[in-house]
């Protein structure tokens, strides 16, 4: 067992890196010269999407990196709140942009938009909607925990993959390097998180039981 102080220092370093990767793209997008001419609804809708993208990177860590990064119990709590925040932000992203330019959002939702990234945004949206519905009804449906994990992981990978393609194809206020960094990071944490929750974690527990 490592000394508690070394562990705390490692944790602090890890969280510093995580917060930097998550915060820099948001700050860079907010500081973009393109924001200057934009109306409030446009800025709001755009930034809500950027913050949601950053949260998608942090979200798997809250659950799958416990107890290394934070206590499992508070991790679950944070994961829940971050999930609610992502759903609300995506709603704000679409709602504000709809109010700003109804034609463009209607085209996107009906899959007739000329922009290729709209399709990926809509795929991501529907996987998110499905996730929210499952979260709300999984107990009533009597969904076994193991199957819930698998379903949630598959949907999460789909949300993040489609969301990342959506973000990468968009030419807008996000700065290119911080955008690519947070997108790669989100793909990495989501994939690693899904593997940890469904495979490595259960495998470790089983080995522990066998050796005990």
């Amino acid at each position: 067992m490592r000394p508690a102080r070394v562990e705390a220092r490692g944790r602090l370093a890890a969280w510093t890196v995580i917060l930097a990767v998550a915060a820099v793209p948001v700050i860079a997008a907010a500081a973009s010269p393109l924001q200057a001419g934009r109306e409030l609804l446009w800025v709001t809708g755009g930034m809500a999407g950027v913050v949601a993208l950053s949260l998608l990177f942090v979200q798997p860590l809250l659950k799958a990196a416990a107890p290394a990064l934070l206590p499992a119990r508070s991790g679950t709590l944070w994961h829940r709140w971050a999930g609610i925040a992502i759903a609300v932000l995506v709603g704000l992203h679409i709602g504000a942009l709809y109010l700003y330019s109804p034609d463009d959002i209607t085209d996107a939702l009906l899959l007739v938009a000329p922009t290729p990234f709209s399709l990926y945004g809509v795929i991501s949206l529907w996987c998110l909607v499905l996730t929210v519905l499952l979260v709300a009804t999984r107990r009533r449906l009597g969904l076994a925990k193991r199957w819930w994990r698998v379903l949630h992981s598959v949907l999460a990978v789909a949300i993040v993959s489609a969301g990342v393609i959506h973000a990468v194809l968009i030419e807008g206020a996000m700065e290119e390097f911080s955008k690519l960094a947070v997108c790669a990071a989100a793909l990495a944490t989501t994939t690693a998180g899904a593997l940890e929750i469904n495979l490595f974690g259960p495998l470790r527990r089983r080995r522990k039981l066998q050796s005990a």
Binding site: G37, W42, S101, P114, Y120, V157, I165, L195
Partner: protein, 178 residues
């Protein structure tokens, strides 16, 4: 065994996602903005409307000298069939610029084609709206069929764009856009 299978699937999924993204990227580079080039000497076909072309359209944009400075959109308007240049037709243009979005009134205006059938309008620098730097161009008058275009700039740093198009004869029964 199980571990291996799942890992391969995950990798496959990611590769698939990246490949899908690459496919999504393609149209942006393959479809040139002025895809209206015609075979020389052939008969001129009417330019096809572009998806999303009529978004944020408001009829009867006022005739303007310019919509700012820094970007020039120009082009040649022809008549379908013989390709005769059309003089004195109204071309309506709107776009998101450094000064605001497509719906800002000062980002919307009309110009008339000259004796050679050419139009030209200077605007403030174009910025991407909804993820693509693009311009909206409309012909919406009784003389010919209504046409809405939405050409995308090759780069958001471009300073000019040429958009030639060919108008079809008006069909008497065609519904007018509201």
């Amino acid at each position: 065994m199980t571990g291996k299978t799942i890992f391969a699937n995950r990798r496959l999924l990611l590769t698939g996602a990246v490949a899908a993204g690459a496919v999504g990227l393609l149209p942006r580079f393959l479809v040139s903005a002025d895809a209206q080039s015609q075979p020389a000497g052939g008969s001129y076909k009417p330019t096809e409307a572009m998806a999303g072309g009529a978004n944020n359209y408001e009829p009867n944009a006022p005739l303007v000298e310019n919509l700012g400075t820094g970007f020039v959109v120009s082009g040649l308007v022809r008549k379908a069939g013989n390709g005769e240049p059309l003089r004195n037709v109204r071309v309506q243009i709107w776009a998101a610029t450094e000064r605001g979005g497509e719906r800002v009134p000062s980002n919307r205006g009309s110009v008339m084609t000259d004796d050679q059938g050419r139009y030209r309008l200077e605007t403030s620098p174009i910025v991407p709206q909804f993820g693509q730097p693009h311009i909206h161009i409309a012909y919406d008058d009784p003389g010919f069929a209504t046409l809405f275009l939405r050409p995308v700039l090759n780069s958001r740093h471009d300073k000019t764009m040429n958009v030639d198009f060919v108008l079809a004869p008006a069909s008497p029964n065609a519904p007018r856009p509201s």
